[in-house]
Amino acid sequence: MDKDLLSVAVVGHANTGKTSLIRTLLRDASFGEIADKAGTTRHVEGAEIRVDDNHNLVIYDTPGLEDSIHLLSVIDEQSISEHDDGIDRLLSFIKNENNYPELSQELKVLKALLSNDIIFYVIDIREPILGKYRDELKILSYAAKPIIPVLNFIEAGSDNMRNWQTQLARLNLHAHVSFDSVVFRFSDELKIYQKMQTLLAHRDQQLEALIEQRKVQWQQREKAAQQLIATLLVEAAACRFRADNNEQSIAKTSNQLQASIRDLETSTLNQLLALYQFKQQDIDQYDLPIQQGQWELDLFSTDNLQEFGIKATSNFVKGAGIGVAVDLVAAGLTLGAAAVAGGVMGVLWGVKQRYYDEIHAKVKGHRYLCADDLTLNILWARQLSLLIALQQRGHASVTKLSLAQINSEKTALPKAWNQWLKNARQHPQWLASNNSEQPPLKAKKQLLIKQISESLAAISNSNNSNTNKN
């Protein structure tokens, strides 16, 4: 199958973040090399972005332009006839490439300019508008290709944004976009594709498909992430261990409980990372606060509790026995309903299965331990902030994923919170490791997870509209 390719060349001065931009667009932290110095990328390196089954977009990383002043003077020196235009100048220079070994990197860029459909010109907007940048833009204009200036580093360089915008406007470049490869905003990515759409009218449909596909992907991913968090909450709340009624046993059991809640959180963390295409090794490499798949910030450390604005005075375990009384009433109701249906035997047996453990524990003086509200509260806050951090993390990030800025006010608990916890705690069978003998059907669990995910979606929507307002 011949794929219909649309190609983009990413060019710009050295160290402006060309490779970083591509990494972020590809969601691939292993693309090319990134370093905070000039001349990191030395090849023209391409990668394909999938649009749909028949279309791809190819994006080429190029070495940084470093000596544009010299390059421009050489290009302008090319002896050409009067009617020749910029492209002829460039071609004439390329023909004489052997005369300029010192410009071999720039030469690759020029070839890339001529062979692709559209140019992204990456600008580090923290930089003043120097002669070399103006010369670069002039050289680009020779290639007579549509150009999208990408204003990079908008997080750090926002003061200088206006200057660059005016400068670009004077060169007739109005379709610029702002971006930050490290502090990622999905809307900025969409803007890049939308600008391409404006400039490449004949590729309109293909780009529309790309934009649409990206949106769907983003939403699906967010939804799946919310589902994961909801599942974590439900399972962590359902998690319980039986202890004898003495200090020693309770201490031991509560350690077990901590361990299994940690495991649950770790597993969710790994899944979230995979979902947002951050690999475990990328994390090690970039020194995220995770070690051997574990958060460096332990869920149960007092520091961490304080970080979330919660005083570490409360006992973290809670007896699950309290629920039993209520449950027995419910059991009576089920019993009555089922007796009507004629299945008394089955029901009695089912009730035994469902309540035997609790009743037995009561008689024998055991108790069940489960995570208390506060722990679950922190778990919730951490996951919410993790999700936000992952969504805003470009694949070019090399800094720590930090959750320090979260405060507990921001993570106000949803209204139905207590209801959820109560519901989950009454269904130990929802967590496989509880080894509950109770019936395995998960419809109710799925229902609760759905409720929680929906509430998460509402939270994220309100967050988005808040940031849009700012």
Binding site: N15, D28, K37, R42, G46, D53, I69, Q227, V351
Partner: protein, 486 residues
């Protein structure tokens, strides 16, 4: 393998791989659409995980268990006839008692079933599922001869059970099973009734203590309505009155009446009990088929989204299209020792200072520095024009030394290098590098930049003794003082 089996298999593999799909099963998925890619991966993964034998076993287990109970019900149905209908002497059947025995419980259970079926949540009563589960487990234990079970057997079992009896097709499945079992029971009863009637001579009677004859007449009229339409020989109202105890008919008539009663009994059993059950059973059987056909994977599940990322990644493997000819980047093996510079650099005489891309603040500092030592105007090189100006001024000064003022925070590039080379306008010119920095800036970053500068300076023969780093703290008071001093 049909689509349903394939999807079920994909789900089975999901259960095994949970929580994240493995990326071991590589193939060229990019040319396939998602459905095909998924099914191809499923096949590859199944070779490794061996899920399909387990699923096959589970499917057979379910069929076997259901079939076993069918047989049991058939036997129960058959035996119920001889037990309940034929009294000790074996010559009389209480007709209405027979009807009540067979049809009433059936109708009652149909009513219960329809309530349960149309009230969604009742059927998910955990106990029902639990009962079924333990039955399946029991049968499995009895039947399972293989000692080495698949390591994920339990998980797969649970999944399969959930799939069959859970929210998606549980209602249809359970309905089908219950109608099937009832059909078996009624079939058994009908068959054995045939047998009884074929081998025994019985008289049909009715008995009552509190009901009137009218009731039985009415009932018979209802029951005979359909058979009459079909012209089947059934008892007439007068036969009903005669069937009361104690009335003896002539032989010939009696035989005809027996046949008509037994016709009615068998007809009622088949048409009013067995047939509806079989029809319902078939309807739900079709329902199951439909459900299987419409069975979709939940592609919004986190697992499948991860899998999609693997099968159809946003960015495909990269390729180098214009490789670097000059291999072995010399930058890679740079010295590990901290970058050296000369803190007490003595400014040479007969030197010409040039500033390169300095910002306003640092340019002021550089200006001050130049004023202290030399009596020329510092040119700040920002573009081609200023480069040319600086170079021609340099040439006309005929200086032996050139001092380059730069901002340590800037990234040195080949543009700088080529300009520095041009500054060596004659062979014996020595370049000096004066780096300006601000103390407040990020230390680690400055250190690495300093390294870059020292490295690039070496390329134009500026060894560390000709490099100095002026680390100005730019607090306002400091500037103020300098202004006073100057």
């Amino acid at each position: 393998m049909d689509l349903y089996q394939n999807r079920l298999l994909t789900e089975g593999i999901r259960i095994i791989e949970k929580p994240s799909p493995s990326n071991r099963f590589n193939a060229d998925y990019s040319t396939l659409n998602l459905t095909d890619a998924l099914s191809k991966r499923t096949q590859l993964a199944d070779l490794r995980y061996q899920v399909s034998p387990v699923l096959l076993h589970l499917q057979q287990l379910l069929k076997f268990s259901i079939g076993l109970i069918c047989v049991i019900f058939l036997i129960v149905g058959a035996s119920s006839v001889s037990q309940f209908l034929v009294n000790e002497s074996g010559t009389q059947i209480n007709f209405f008692w027979a009807i009540v025995l067979f049809i009433a419980p059936n109708i009652l259970s149909l009513i219960i079933w329809s309530i349960v079926y149309f009230k969604r949540h009742v059927l998910s009563l955990p106990w029902l599922a639990n009962l079924l589960l333990s039955m399946l487990t029991l049968v499995d234990k009895l039947q399972h001869k293989v000692t080495t079970k698949h390591i994920h057997y339990i998980d797969l079992f649970q999944y399969y059970f959930e799939h069959k009896f859970g929210a998606y097709m549980g209602r249809v499945q359970l309905s089908m099973i219950s109608h099937l079992w009832w059909s078996c029971y009624l079939l058994g009863a009908t068959l054995s009734l045939f047998l009884v009637l074929a081998t025994h001579q019985v008289d049909f009677i009715w008995q009552t203590t509190i009901l009137s004859e009218d009731t039985f007449l009415k009932l018979t009229q209802w029951l005979t309505y359909l058979p009459n339409l079909l012209a089947i020989n059934v008892p007439t109202p007068s036969d009903v009155s005669h069937a009361s105890i104690g009335i003896v008919n002539p032989l010939q008539v009696a035989q005809e009446i027996r046949i008509s009663w037994s016709n009615l009994l068998i007809f009622s059993l088949i048409v009013y009990a067995l047939l509806p059950r079989i029809i319902l059973m078939l309807v739900f059987y079709q329902g199951i088929k439909q459900k299987k056909k419409n069975f979709q994977l939940d592609l919004s599940d986190a697992y499948y989204i991860q899998l999609k990322n693997i099968l159809h990644p946003i960015g495909k493997a990269s390729f180098i299209s214009d490789a670097d000819q000059h291999k072995a980047n010399p930058n890679n093996h740079q010295g590990k020792e901290t970058s050296q510079y000369n803190q007490s650099l003595v400014m040479p005489e007969n030197a010409y200072p040039i500033a390169i891309e300095l910002n306003q603040r640092i340019l002021q500092q550089a200006d001050k520095h130049v004023l202290k030592h030399y009596s020329v105007d510092l040119i700040n090189v920002l573009d081609n024009a200023s480069q040319q100006a600086a170079l021609s001024a340099l040439k006309s000064s005929a200086a032996e030394h050139v001092i380059l003022y730069v901002d340590v925070n800037r990234v040195p590039d080949r543009g700088w290098l080529s300009f520095a080379k041009k500054c060596q306008y004659k062979s014996n010119v020595q370049l000096y590098l004066l780096l300006f920095g601000e103390q407040s800036a990020n230390k680690a970053k400055i250190a690495s930049r300093l390294e870059d500068w020292v490295e690039i300076a070496a390329k134009v023969n500026i060894s560390s003794q000709y490099i100095s780093y002026l680390n100005q703290s730019v607090t306002p008071s400091n500037i103020h003082q300098e202004v006073k001093n100057g």
